[in-house]
């Protein structure tokens, strides 16, 4: 993998917590940042990045790569991402298996792609080009989704596995997203995680969702829900000691509350990996 190794338990670092992070850096083993906020020309985020990266490993996690878009690769975007990668020397970069841009219009949303063999080939070719260009491993994250397409002929887990195996890239497994999509599309989350190629899953995400009338919304504004903790417990059995990131993007709680939730993840991990005598 990349230049700098990463393990343990981290959070998605948001501006509201910059101060808390500098006061309590040992609360986390590493942090994840939203790549795009650090790909602008300047500003506070830029200035703070080098300081953060001095203290802990930083993983850039993007939302606008739009690898599933039928558009060409956005080379300006990729150039900026590469500059970010060079600046912080991360073990990998991640983004989502989705589309969010069409004919240069950004939808600012993570839209699912139809799961077909030809779309898998198309995306894996793009993933290979992108990973080669960035010169750092690329992790693709499963998204939460609210629709499935009439065109789809493959399960989401077969589709994702096919892409990463063909492109020789990796998976960021968002446990919350598996639970959300499992409910919305009527599949068993366990079927999803057990079908993934073990050696390709390099990171976990944990987050909270919101239950609506007849679907679940991936809201990132809530504490991690019980079904997500349960699936995380199961997932540890398959993917062992891969690093975990707790994500929160709305109604962000105080630092201590977030770190307390991260401690729960550590406890679940410790219990799940302690052999019973």
């Amino acid at each position: 993998m990349g230049n700098r190794s990463v393990s343990g338990f981290g959070i998605g670092l948001r501006p509201i917590h910059y101060g808390d992070f500098f006061n309590n850096p040992s609360d986390v083993d590493f942090v994840e940042i939203i790549s795009e906020n650090f790909m602008l020309d300047g500003g506070r985020a830029h200035a703070i990045l080098a300081e953060v990266a001095e203290i802990v490993p930083v993983i850039p996690h993007g939302v606008s790569l739009s690898i599933g878009s039928s558009d060409d690769i956005d080379w300006d975007y990729l150039n900026r991402l590469k500059r970010l990668v060079r600046a912080i020397n991360p073990p990998w970069v991640s983004d989502h298996l989705c589309w969010s841009r069409h004919h240069d219009l950004y939808m600012h949303n993570l839209l699912p792609v139809p799961q077909t063999p030809d779309v898998a080939v198309f995306i894996s070719e793009k993933a290979r080009i992108i990973q080669d260009y960035l010169e750092v491993p690329l992790l693709l994250e499963n998204v939460s989704s609210y629709v499935t397409y009439t065109d789809s002929t493959m399960t989401e887990w077969d589709f994702l596995s096919e892409i990463v195996s063909t492109a020789n890239c990796y998976i960021l497994l968002d446990i919350n997203n598996v639970v959300v999509s499992g409910y919305n599309h009527g599949f068993n989350p366990i079927d999803y995680i057990t079908a993934l190629p073990r050696d390709r899953v390099k990171q976990h995400h944990l987050a909270g969702y919101r239950v609506k009338d007849n679907f679940i919304l991936d809201s990132h504004d809530n504490a991690v829900s019980d079904p997500v903790w349960e699936l995380y417990r199961e997932s540890i059995q398959f993917f062992d000691s891969i690093p975990v990131v707790l994500e929160r993007d709305d109604s962000i709680p105080p630092w201590n509350e977030l770190i307390h939730e991260l401690t729960l993840a550590k406890k679940i991990y410790a219990n799940a990996t302690t052999p019973i005598n």
Binding site: E36, I73, F122, V147
Partner: protein, 243 residues
């Protein structure tokens, strides 16, 4: 670049239009119903998301413009995005063309000025700052990317009601990572306006001389000398090609 499958292009054409036009027309062809939700209901989750994200994000960047447009804010944003979609990967760039769009809509000049001020705040927040070292009279200089010059004809304090006043030239720039506004005296405004396009000091001096009365020429020379002696700490202008 690999060739995208035809059906993927068709699907993304359809879904993009559906989201922008807020219609579920065609959803049965593309979206499988689930046991709990029909195709149109499932699609509507994405439809509900897009416009509030745009209107909220722009209202964050243009709070006073939004306040003044009030009931027309939502429809103005929709017309803007439909007519002048922005290409930026970051929501920070969503409002790049917004002041120009307002102008093209024929809103009052004061409102366009206010929107330009608010756009300048965003620019100041996300742009880089360059240092300048030694300069000679023929070094091409340009206004730094975090700086915007605006001339407004209303009292900033009188917001949200825009009351017409005489024009006041302003510079909006980044200071300690935050946008800061300073009013400029007429000579300084005239000087800084020279650097909206790359210009060297000697040309700036010549042009300024031509626009002031004969007895102010010494003042211009003095002003430029004095201003340049503080230029390296002001970070408002830079070399055209920073090294």
């Amino acid at each position: 670049m690999p060739t995208p499958p035809r059906r993927l292009i068709d699907l993304q054409n359809w879904m993009t239009n559906a989201i922008i036009a807020e219609t579920t027309l065609g959803s049965v062809e593309w979206i499988t119903p689930s046991t709990q939700r029909g195709s149109d209901d499932r699609l509507s989750t994405y439809l509900r998301d897009f416009w509030p994200r745009c209107t909220d994000s722009l209202a964050e960047d243009f709070p006073r413009t939004a306040e003044i447009l009030d009931a027309q804010w939502e429809s103005t944003v929709k017309n803007y995005i439909r007519q002048l979609p922005t290409m930026g990967f970051s929501l920070y760039h969503l409002g790049d063309n917004f002041p120009n769009f307002l102008q093209s809509m024929g809103v009052s000049d004061l409102l366009v000025q206010l929107a330009s001020m608010e756009k300048a705040n965003v620019t100041a927040e996300i742009s880089s700052i360059h240092s300048i070292n030694t300069l000679s009279a023929d070094t091409p200089l340009i206004l730094q990317p975090h700086c915007t010059l605006v001339s407004i004809e209303f009292e900033v304090e009188s917001l949200p009601k825009l009351v017409q006043t005489d024009p006041v030239p302003l510079i909006i720039f980044q200071s300690d990572y935050n946008p800061k506004i300073e009013s400029l005296d007429p000579l300084e405004a005239l000087f800084l306006n020279q650097f909206i396009t790359p210009t060297c000091l000697s040309d700036a001096y010549d042009r300024m001389e031509r626009s002031v009365s004969d007895d102010s020429m010494d003042t211009v020379a003095e002003f430029i000398d004095d201003w340049m002696s503080r230029a390296t700490s002001k970070f408002w202008i830079m070399r055209k090609d920073p090294q």
